[in-house]
Amino acid sequence: MSKIVQFVSQNCGKITPDSVEDYIENGGFEGLKKAFTLKPTEIIAEVKTAKLLGRGGAAYPAGAKWEQLLEIPEFPKYIVCNADEGEPGTFKDKLLLSQDPLRVIEGMTIAGYVFNSNDGYIYIRGEYAAVQKSFQKAIDHAVQQGYLGTHILGTDFSFRIHIKTGAGAYVCGENSALLNSIEGKAGRPRIKPPHLAEVGLFSKPTLVNNVESFAAIPIITQLGGEKYLSYGTSDSGGTKLICLSGHAAKRGVYEVPFGVTLRDIIYDPEIGGGIRDGKKLKFFHLGGQSGPCGIPEQLDTPYCYKKLRAAGLAVGSGAVVIMDESICVIDYLKSVTEFFIHESCGKCTPCREGNQQLYNILCKFADGHAVHEDFKIMKRLVDAMTNASFCGLGQSAAVALSTCLTYFKDEFEAHINKKCPAGYCFQERESGK
């Protein structure tokens, strides 16, 4: 039986992305039409039944988030789609945005209807310049055909979608930083509480969901939460778009039902197809740079929120970065940490200073200057960053390092003795790394 499904991604590559006719021919806007026959509470009940967990990475239950916003009596409310897809190794939102934008538009519009909101914002990452243009076309076409704009489908409901874009800061994927950026402020996270549901965009009640979450809404509305849930496991409803990269034989975006194993994802001929060049898998990095690393011994873990968490792993954004035996863990972690040094917003101490200090220590290992005391210092840094950082960026920046310290302690030790098991460090190189 095939391990992949075509559900949320069913139109990708098959229709003209900005063609409303094509979209309708393939079942498009049925969810929206159905939504107009339902009460907001009924739609939210379906989202809850579907057990849709936020697909951006934090896995917050969408149904609960929607329920909280519905309870807030203040208006206007805003619908915001987080399309800042900044996690390295993550490119599944780009697929949906470019190949099936009307599904995202439909999902946001249903949310608009649920919350009686007239304005939606989609924050598309700065690097996706082409996507911004094609998405605008899709919006324009939807408006022309009466599926967006004023009096949608002849009803009293009006909903506009505005595209906003950042300058490429990773931290703007953090929802409160994203809202600041839309408001024209520097993209830095806000103090919470108050939660965004109460004090969100322009200080108004706001819903922020990821692209993939919004893309699942039309299906859930049309087919019901039960149907969506049935694709996945009892606790992780539906499907997940995963992004295979690194040394996977077949890199790309795949839609899998929750419950397939990591082995399926990496080795199934229809999915990852194994490791490039016949090499051995050394480790895999899940959910983005902020996610944990795993080792071959964990390959039989089912890919779902609960089982991965129990194994010290995570779904996160859906990134699956494969690293083969030629990679030095310390060198890999150096580049992960460099990423966070570059992307830390700088406002809180543990993240601003901690990443830099972690990097210094990793360099000591890579250069053969580390001592055993450095393990203790790294542990202190990891703990402080995880416990004390202002936002998710700093709290998760040391997760990869932390998991690698568990699985690859020997490799760190070897570097103290100036030996690199992967044969990468301590080599004469002509230039650069």
């Binding site: 830390s344 809180c348 101490t349 601003r352 200073e353 200090q357």
Partner: protein, 580 residues
């Protein structure tokens, strides 16, 4: 879901097992204080909005995965708060060590040594050796202006200065810039402060926890002048200094140290010790007369005071269209300087080029004011050097005087005599009250029965009152803090302002809260300094500027009358729109 706290509801929590009942919405750090637990803070400041960025005030709450910041987290019923667990202690210490790793370790050469919040915390946490690799960034000092020095190396990025500049003053000269280890406090495009909207109020210095912001130190210039046998060095001291200087020597906040201060100045070697309050009385004569003239001759109203150089810089930069409303009267500091180099020079026969005028001010903008080109109407620069209260304290410490034990001294003649009215110039509402005490009598010709105008006193950012001047009712407003000044300026621009006279002070609370005053994070200190000034006023024999015998004499002997030709030449000035 979070909901808006109702302080009428009480909640009970435990802190380290000790139960405490507090109003809903109370911050954990305040609840902890109630049971005698002081939670360390660094980015938190009682006068500023919470930012929770330094992450020093961490605490643990039972059942919560991550540590919380006590400065930003409100209590909730039943919360079990733990402030002394291993994870709390270790994490706080690590955070502090991280801050120290990118902070210079040269406390001995730092102006804030001994009064540095970071140094204090390092001592509290028993940090005795560097754990992390020191980050050695040698960035240049930013000091190309008359008033404020910014040392980016010492900055710990707590954001207090940005908060005060943007939220309290709404000047917005500085902001956070860049990311990660390049994150810094910067002007727009790293311009010099002179080229920004900065008004040199120095409130950024007043809230900086470390030595990253301080006044341009002029003590060396003053020592050189004092050591120069050719020079006759006179000093004037602003009213607000005398109720704050003692704090630098461990005296109670708000204690009145006028006499000790005079003695200390004499011991420092100044030839004459004068009082800016004398010039403040002259200011009232000039500004009060200007008000009366504008009232009688349909001049531009409302008239707005011009004593506060932070405010004057603000109006020149942000509201040039309101400049005709600003009194042409120089500030007391400059009036003093102009008179010292003319009247005093003439009286003593000392050549004005040999008279060196030093001011001691609660203010950093006064340094800028004294350097203005137009402030030399006598042919000589009115004021040669301006010291802040803090710099004077440093000079006193340098010569090893036991300030607390000093016998009180007296100001010298002829520019040391002043009234209670002049002394309250140092607090918000004081100029207004002093003006009313004089203007009322000048206009009505009647003696005032009640000299205390309570309605113009107090901390409020905008105060208003209505006064009956012989049948003509005038409305006045008193404003402190530039955010509040902006509110009034917008009203004036919109033509919605029916005030006749407005007092504006750039700093919150007036001069007692100036950017040159002793630095403290204690709450209530402004009120204590204010109370000190009103106490001096109450105890004064003369409490109205026009009754100051020295002022009467200077008009008889030298100025002729308020707004005379000589007054205009020496005591009045002009303002210019300035770019920001």
């Amino acid at each position: 879901m979070h909901h808006i706290a109702n302080p009428n509801n009480k909640v009970t929590v435990t802190i380290d097992g000790i139960p405490v009942t507090v109003p809903e919405g109370t911050l954990i750090m305040d609840a902890a204080k109630k049971v005698g637990i002081i939670i360390p803070v660094l980015c938190y400041h009682p006068d500023l909005a919470v930012r929770a960025t330094c992450r020093v005030c961490l605490i643990e709450i039972k059942g919560q995965k991550k540590l919380k910041t006590a400065c930003s987290t409100e209590v909730w019923a039943g919360a079990e708060i733990i402030t002394n667990s291993k994870v709390v202690r270790d994490t706080r210490k690590t955070v502090l060590e991280l801050i120290l790793a990118s902070h210079p370790q040269d406390c001995l050469q730092c102006v804030r040594s001994g009064n540095c919040e970071l140094q204090q915390l390092a001592r509290t946490f028993g940090i005795d050796k560097p754990v992390f690799e020191p980050m050695d960034n040698k960035l240049p000092l930013q000091d190309e202006n008359t008033s404020i020095v910014r040392d980016p190396n010492k900055c710990i990025k707590c954001g207090r200065c940005v908060a005060v500049c943007q939220e309290v003053q709404e000047v917005g000269a500085i902001n956070t810039a860049n990311r990660s280890n390049h994150y810094e406090i910067s002007t727009a495009y790293s311009q010099k402060l002179d080229d920004t909207s900065c008004v040199f109020c120095g409130q950024c210095i007043a809230v900086c926890p470390v030595g990253a912001l301080y006044e341009k130190d002029n003590t060396d210039k003053v020592w050189s002048a004092l050591d120069d046998q050719e020079l006759h060095v006179v000093v004037q001291v602003a009213p607000a200094v005398r109720v704050a200087l003692g704090e630098e020597f461990g005296m109670p906040r708000g204690s009145i140290d006028t006499g000790k201060m005079v003695t200390a100045l004499r011991r420092l070697g100044f030839d004459r010790i004068f009082d800016t309050s004398f010039a403040a009385d002259v200011t009232i004569m000039e500004e009060g007369s200007e008000l009366i003239e504008r009232l009688q001759h349909q001049g531009v109203l409302p008239l707005i005071t011009s004593c506060s150089p932070g405010w004057v810089n603000f109006v020149e930069k942000f509201y040039p269209e309101v400049l005709p409303n600003v009194s042409s009267c120089k500030s007391p500091q400059q009036i003093f300087g102009a008179l010292a180099k003319t009247y005093y020079a003439q009286k003593t026969g000392i050549s004005p080029d040999k008279i060196f005028v030093v001011s001691v001010m609660p203010c950093t903008a006064k340094k800028h004011e004294s350097s203005r080109e137009e402030m030399n109407s006598s042919g000589y620069q009115d004021v040669d050097v301006v010291l802040t209260t803090r710099e004077l304290a440093r000079m006193i410490k340098q010569i090893g005087i036991d300030f607390v034990a000093l016998e009180p001294g007296e100001f010298d003649d002829p520019m040391g005599m002043s009234t209670g009215a002049a002394v309250i110039f140092g607090t918000s509402g004081g100029v207004m009250e002093a003006a009313l005490r004089t203007v009322y009598e000048l206009v009505t010709g009647e003696g005032l029965q009640q000299l205390d105008f309570e309605m113009v006193r107090g901390h409020a950012g905008i105060k208003e009152a209505e006064i009956d001047l012989a049948g003509t009712k005038i409305k006045v407003a008193i404003v402190n803090g530039l955010k509040n000044a902006r509110i009034l300026m917008e009203k004036i621009k919109a033509g919605q302002c029916d005030y006749t006279f407005i007092e504006i002070m750039g700093c919150p609370g007036g001069c007692i809260g100036g950017g040159g005053q002793p630095i403290t994070t204690a709450t209530g200190v402004k009120g204590e300094r204010m109370a000190g000034l009103y106490q001096i006023d109450r105890g004064s024999d003369i409490r109205q500027s026009h009754k100051n015998p020295a002022v009467i004499r200077i008009y008889e002997e030298f100025l002729n009358k308020p707004l005379s030709h000589k007054s205009h030449k020496l005591l009045h000035t002009r303002y210019f729109p300035r770019k920001k």
